[in-house]
C-alpha cells in the first residue's frame, strides 16, 4: 500500500523541501555550472580577463601526456583502494560476526578509523612509513626491503592506497557486518546440515546474499577514491614523486590553484564529473543485474 501525505497548504511542501534544494543548488549545481562555464574559457592568472576558447582546454588535456598518465594512475588507485578496502572489511566482518565475547568492544575499535580526518590519517601513515623516522619503514629495512616512497613511485602508490583504504575499511565493515547479521542463522545452519563447510557456506550462501551490500559499497568506494582521498594525497605525497600518485582530483587542485590554470582545471573537473557519472551508470546498469535483492 502506498502512503501519501496530503498537504492542504500548497506552499508548505516546497518550504519543507527548500533546505535540501538550496544546499544542492548552492553547493552542487551552481559550482558544476561554474565549472562547465569555466572549462570553455581561458583566463589570465590574475583573473582580470577571460576569453572564450571553445573546447581548446579539453583538446590540450587529451594531448597532454601528464594528464593521460594521471588518468591511468587514478584508475589503478581507485580500483586498488576499493578492492583492498572491500576485501579487508569483508574479512574483518566475517571474523567479527563470529566473536561472542566482547563483540561490542571489537566492533567499536574497528569503527574508529572512520572518525579520523583524511589528512590526519595521511600524516599517521606518513610518519609510520617515513624513510628516516618511520617505524614500519625501519621494520621493512631490517627485513632487507628498502623503503623510500619519496623516490620510489610504486611505493608511494602503495602507501596512499593503504592509507586511503584503511580509512574506508571501517565504513565498509559496518555495512558488511549489518548485512551479515541480517542473514537468518537458520540459513547457515541449513547449509551446515546440507554438508557445506565454513568456506563453502560463505561463498555459496553468505556472499551471494551480501551482493546488494557489496554493490552499494563498490559504488561508494569508487566515488570515495576519486574525490575524498584528496586530503590523503595532499598530506602524504602531494602527487609525487614525479607525479606517480597524481590522481585526477589532486591534479585539478594542483593545476587550478597552484598552477593557476583555471580553464584547464575546470575542464578536468568536468571530465572527472563525466567519469563518475559514467561509472555509476555502468555499475547500476550492468552489475546490478547480477545482484540478488
Amino acid at each position: 500500500m502506498e502512503k501519501r501525505v496530503v498537504f492542504r497548504n500548497p506552499v508548505l511542501p516546497y518550504l519543507l523541501l527548500a533546505p535540501q534544494l538550496i544546499v544542492t543548488l548552492v553547493f552542487f549545481i551552481w559550482p558544476a555550472f561554474q565549472a562547465l562555464k569555466q572549462s570553455v574559457l581561458l583566463e589570465d592568472p590574475f583573473g582580470l580577463r577571460s576569453r572564450f576558447v571553445w573546447l581548446e582546454n579539453f583538446e590540450y588535456l587529451f594531448a597532454n601526456a601528464q594528464y593521460l598518465d594521471s588518468l591511468s594512475i587514478t584508475a589503478v588507485f581507485s580500483v586498488s583502494v576499493a578492492a583492498l578496502a572491500l576485501s579487508v572489511a569483508l574479512y574483518l566482518a566475517v571474523q567479527a560476526d563470529r566473536v561472542v565475547k566482547a563483540a561490542a568492544v571489537y566492533k567499536t575499535l574497528l569503527i574508529w578509523p572512520y572518525a579520523v580526518a583524511p589528512a590526519v590519517a595521511g600524516i599517521l601513515w606518513l610518519l609510520m612509513f617515513n624513510p628516516t623516522l618511520g617505524i614500519l619503514a625501519y621494520a621493512l629495512r631490517s627485513l632487507g626491503y628498502d623503503w623510500n616512497h619519496q623516490v620510489n613511485g610504486d611505493q608511494a602508490m602503495v602507501l596512499v592506497v593503504v592509507a586511503a583504504a584503511w580509512k574506508q575499511i571501517s565504513y565498509n565493515f559496518l555495512f558488511f557486518l549489518a548485512g551479515m547479521q541480517a542473514i537468518p542463522r537458520s540459513l547457515i545452519e541449513a547449509a551446515a546440515i546440507d554438508g557445506a563447510g565454513p568456506a563453502r557456506r560463505f561463498w555459496t550462501i553468505v556472499f551471494p546474499l551480501l551482493t546488494p551490500t557489496t554493490f552499494f559499497l563498490l559504488v561508494i568506494n569508487i566515488v570515495y577514491a576519486f574525490f575524498d582521498t584528496f586530503g590523503i594525497i595532499h598530506a602524504v605525497t602531494q602527487g609525487g614523486p614525479a607525479g606517480a600518485t597524481n590522481i585526477l582530483v589532486y591534479k585539478v587542485f594542483n593545476d587550478g590553484f597552484i598552477g593557476l590554470d583555471l580553464g584547464g582545471s575546470a575542464a578536468q573537473s568536468v571530465i572527472l564529473m563525466a567519469i563518475v557519472i559514467g561509472l555509476t551508470v555502468i555499475q547500476f546498469r550492468f552489475i546490478e543485474r547480477k545482484v540478488h535483492y
Binding site: 545452519e189 547449509a191 546440515i193
Partner: protein, 361 residues
C-alpha cells in the same frame, strides 16, 4: 535408516542448565513428537540431535554411532526449520540439489533425486524454476520438505514446521507430513508446542516441561493415563479440569471443594484415604445424571454452542474455580441453571497435591 538414542542428555549455558538429563530411545522408523510449552527446551533438544548445539553432558547416538562430536553434516540427518530456511538466491531446484552437489553426486543422479522428490511433493516444473520468494507459504513448506527428502537421510528433524502456516493449511500439511513419514518410513523427530499436532502426528509423544521429561508414551496412553499434573493439563482440548479435592475417609469417594463428591472405583484408592489431592476431570467425560449417589451440581455460567458439541462453563457449589464441560450435540441450557453431573469412577484422575504425580491404586 537408524534409530536415535538419547542417554542422560544435558544442556547448560554457563551455569544455567536448560535440559536436565533426557533419556529416550527412538526406534527405527518411529515418529516421535516432542511437545511442550515455549521455553521448555524442546527446540534445544532437537538442535542437539542435529548438531547445532553442543551437548553438555550425556550421549546421543544415531544408528550405532555416537554423534556427540560429529558435525551436523556427518550425522546423516535432514532438518526442516520453522522459517523453512530456503536459500533465497537459488531456484527451488537448486535449493533441493544443494546438499547433493556438496556430496559430489553426479549431475544425472541429482536430477533423478530432485525430480522424484518433486513428484512426491507435487511440485511441478514451473515451480522448480522459481525462487523461494515467488512461492506461497505452503509451497515453501513443501520445498523445505523436498530438500530433506532428496538427501535420503537416516532421520528427519522437524522444528515447528507448521507454525508459520494458516490454520487450514496447517491441517492439510499435517496430514501430508504424516503420510510422507509413513511411506518413507524414516525415523523422525518433530518438535511442536501444539498438542493437537502432537497427538495426530506422533507414534509416541515426549512431553517436555522446563527441560525435564514429564512422560513419554503413545498419544492415547498420555491421554488416558497422564503421569503428572502437567501432562494432564497439557494433553487434551479443551484442557482437563483440575480441581482441589480430598479422598474421602473410606477411600471410595473424592470430595470436591464445592461440597459434592463423586464415587471412585471401589477399593482402588483405599490406601490414600483422607489424602489431599488434585482431581482431574476431562470435559468430555462429564454426563448429566439422575442418580444421587455420585453427583456434583454444576452451576452454569456460560454456554457455548459449537453445533457438534456444547461447551458449558460453570462451577461447583460455592467453589469459585471455573471448569469446562463438553456435552454431545446441541443442549438446551441456560446460564444460572444447576446441572447434576457425574464422571464414571474409572475416568477420574487423581494426582498427589504436592508432587503432582498420578496416584495409582
Amino acid at each position: 535408516m537408524a534409530g536415535i538414542n538419547l542417554r542422560g542428555v544435558v544442556k547448560a549455558y554457563g551455569k544455567t542448565q536448560v535440559i536436565h538429563g533426557v533419556d529416550c530411545t527412538i526406534a527405527d522408523g518411529e515418529f516421535l513428537v516432542i511437545v511442550g510449552p515455549s521455553g521448555c527446551g524442546k527446540s534445544t533438544l532437537l538442535r542437539m540431535i542435529a548438531g547445532l548445539e553442543i551437548i553438555t553432558d550425556g550421549e546421543i547416538s544415531i544408528g550405532d554411532r555416537v554423534v556427540n562430536d560429529l558435525e551436523p553434516a556427518e550425522r546423516d540427518i535432514a532438518m526442516v526449520f520453522q522459517n523453512y530456511a530456503l536459500y533465497p538466491h537459488m531456484t527451488v531446484y537448486n535449493n533441493m540439489a544443494y546438499g547433493l552437489k556438496i556430496r559430489g553426486l553426479a549431475k544425472a543422479d541429482i536430477d533423478t533425486r530432485v525430480r522424484k522428490a518433486a513428484e512426491i511433493l507435487a511440485l511441478d516444473d514451473d515451480l522448480l524454476r522459481r525462487t523461494p520468494r515467488q512461492l506461497s507459504g505452503g509451497q515453501r513448506q513443501r520445498v523445505a520438505m523436498g530438500r530433506a527428502i532428496v538427501r535420503q537421510p537416516s532421520a528427519f528433524l522437524f522444528d515447528e514446521p507448521l507454525s508459520n502456516l494458516d490454520a487450514k493449511l496447517r491441517v492439510q500439511m499435517r496430514l501430508e507430513i504424516k503420510k510422507l513419514q509413513q511411506n518413507l518410513g524414516i525415523t523422525s523427530v518433530y518438535v511442536t508446542h501444539d498438542q493437537v499436532e502432537a497427538m495426530t502426528l506422533g507414534h509416541r509423544l515426549m512431553v517436555l516441561n522446563g527441560g525435564v521429561v514429564e512422560q513419554i508414551g503413545a498419544p492415547i496412553e498420555l491421554y488416558e493415563h497422564p503421569a503428572t499434573l502437567f501432562v494432564a493439563g497439557f494433553i487434551g482440548s479443551p484442557a482437563m479440569n483440575l480441581l482441589p479435592a480430598r479422598i474421602g475417609d473410606g477411600g471410595d469417594r473424592v470430595e470436591l471443594s464445592g461440597g459434592d463428591s463423586l464415587a471412585l472405583p471401589p477399593g482402588r484408592f483405599a490406601a490414600h484415604a483422607g489424602q489431599t489431592v488434585t482431581a482431574g476431570l476431562r470435559p468430555e467425560h462429564f454426563e448429566i445424571v439422575t442418580d444421587d449417589q455420585s453427583v456434583a451440581r454444576l452451576a452454569v455460567d456460560v454456554v457455548e454452542q459449537l453445533g457438534a458439541d456444547t461447551l458449558v462453563h460453570g462451577h461447583f457449589g460455592n467453589d469459585r474455580g471455573s471448569l469446562t464441560v463438553r456435552l454431545n450435540g446441541t443442549q438446551n441450557l441456560q446460564a444460572r441453571q444447576v446441572l447434576p453431573m457425574s464422571v464414571r469412577p474409572e475416568l477420574i484422575h487423581l494426582f498427589d497435591a504436592d508432587s503432582g504425580r498420578r496416584l495409582e491404586s
